[in-house]
């Protein structure tokens, strides 16, 4: 696990968590909560963001190539929607064969509940999934607050 933080003056906040084992599920959600607090998100949003990251990083640890991947967390440029946080969870694992199925609550190919992806979509404002069979998975999630 390696973490990096940068926030020099006016530049946007950015953090990175390398995922290589189950300890990084905790590391990633703590980093996400820390950044959410720094950006002024309230306690419910902090919990939503930390929970979503926990789900996504667990998917990496469970399903990706050797359980390896990366989480990039950064502050988004301010918009009329307010302040935003973006988290990009990426791996080069086997990819998701059928995205529609993977987004269906209760569907799983592993030992979990199949709540991760559909639940993450409900917890966050925007969720984008880029995956194809054999080419890894990148899930990008965003949350905004005024």
């Amino acid at each position: 696990m390696s973490n990096g933080t940068s926030n020099n003056g006016t530049s946007k906040m950015e953090m990175r968590v390398t995922v290589s084992g189950e300890g990084d599920i905790v590391a990633a959600r703590q980093a996400a909560r820390q950044m959410a607090i720094a950006l002024g998100f309230g306690s419910v949003d902090q919990s939503r963001i930390a929970t979503a990251v926990s789900e996504l990083v667990r998917n990496v640890v469970r399903y990706a190539n050797g359980g390896r991947g990366e989480v990039l967390l950064h502050e988004l440029p301010s918009t009329p929607r307010g302040v935003g946080i973006e988290l990009v969870v990426a791996d080069d694992g086997p990819g998701i064969a059928d995205l529609d199925l993977a987004l269906h609550p209760g569907y799983t190919t592993g030992p979990g509940l199949g709540m991760g992806l559909p639940g993450t979509r409900r917890l966050m404002d925007e969720t984008t999934i880029d995956s194809s069979h054999g080419r890894g998975t990148t899930v990008t999630i965003r949350k905004w607050h005024r």
């Binding site: 189950e22 300890g23 306690s43 419910v44 930390a50 789900e55 667990r58 979990g112 409900r122």
Partner: protein, 129 residues
């Protein structure tokens, strides 16, 4: 690895779950609780989540599994102290912890366990009938 201590108070086992616990720590707690139940023969398990800032689908399912396992061994389980933000996140995640009895705080949880175990000893013929 973090070893979660299990405290016995009268007829109840108490375990406190924190945010920093790994999946494997929680699986170890599940086994420890079952083994301690067998050894001690108590009638109740109380799991305190007031220090857990994040409850995801893994932990949610494990709480259900712990409660089911304890019930199969004749003990009642109550989960207490779920923070408001955690409750909202769990609902949005799609987990309602059906089958897990919950209480606002440890005091109310213990009161429920006491009531349940009074009923239990009653049906065993040890109560006043």
């Amino acid at each position: 690895m973090v070893h979660v201590p299990i405290i016995r108070v009268a007829d109840t086992l108490i375990a406190t779950v924190q945010d920093e616990l790994l999946d494997s720590d929680m699986l170890a707690l599940q086994e420890d609780l079952a083994a301690t139940l067998e050894r001690s023969g108590v009638g109740g398990v109380l799991i305190d989540l007031s220090a857990a800032a994040t409850v995801d689908s893994f932990l949610g399912r494990l709480l259900s599994d712990i409660a089911t396992g304890a019930r199969l061994m004749g003990a009642n389980t109550v989960v207490v102290g779920i923070q408001p933000a955690v409750a909202i996140s769990l609902v949005e995640l799609g987990l309602d912890l059906k089958g897990v009895h919950t209480a606002l705080n440890p005091e109310r949880g213990l009161a429920w366990l006491l009531k349940m175990n009074d009923n239990r000893s009653g049906s065993n013929g040890r109560g006043q009938h």
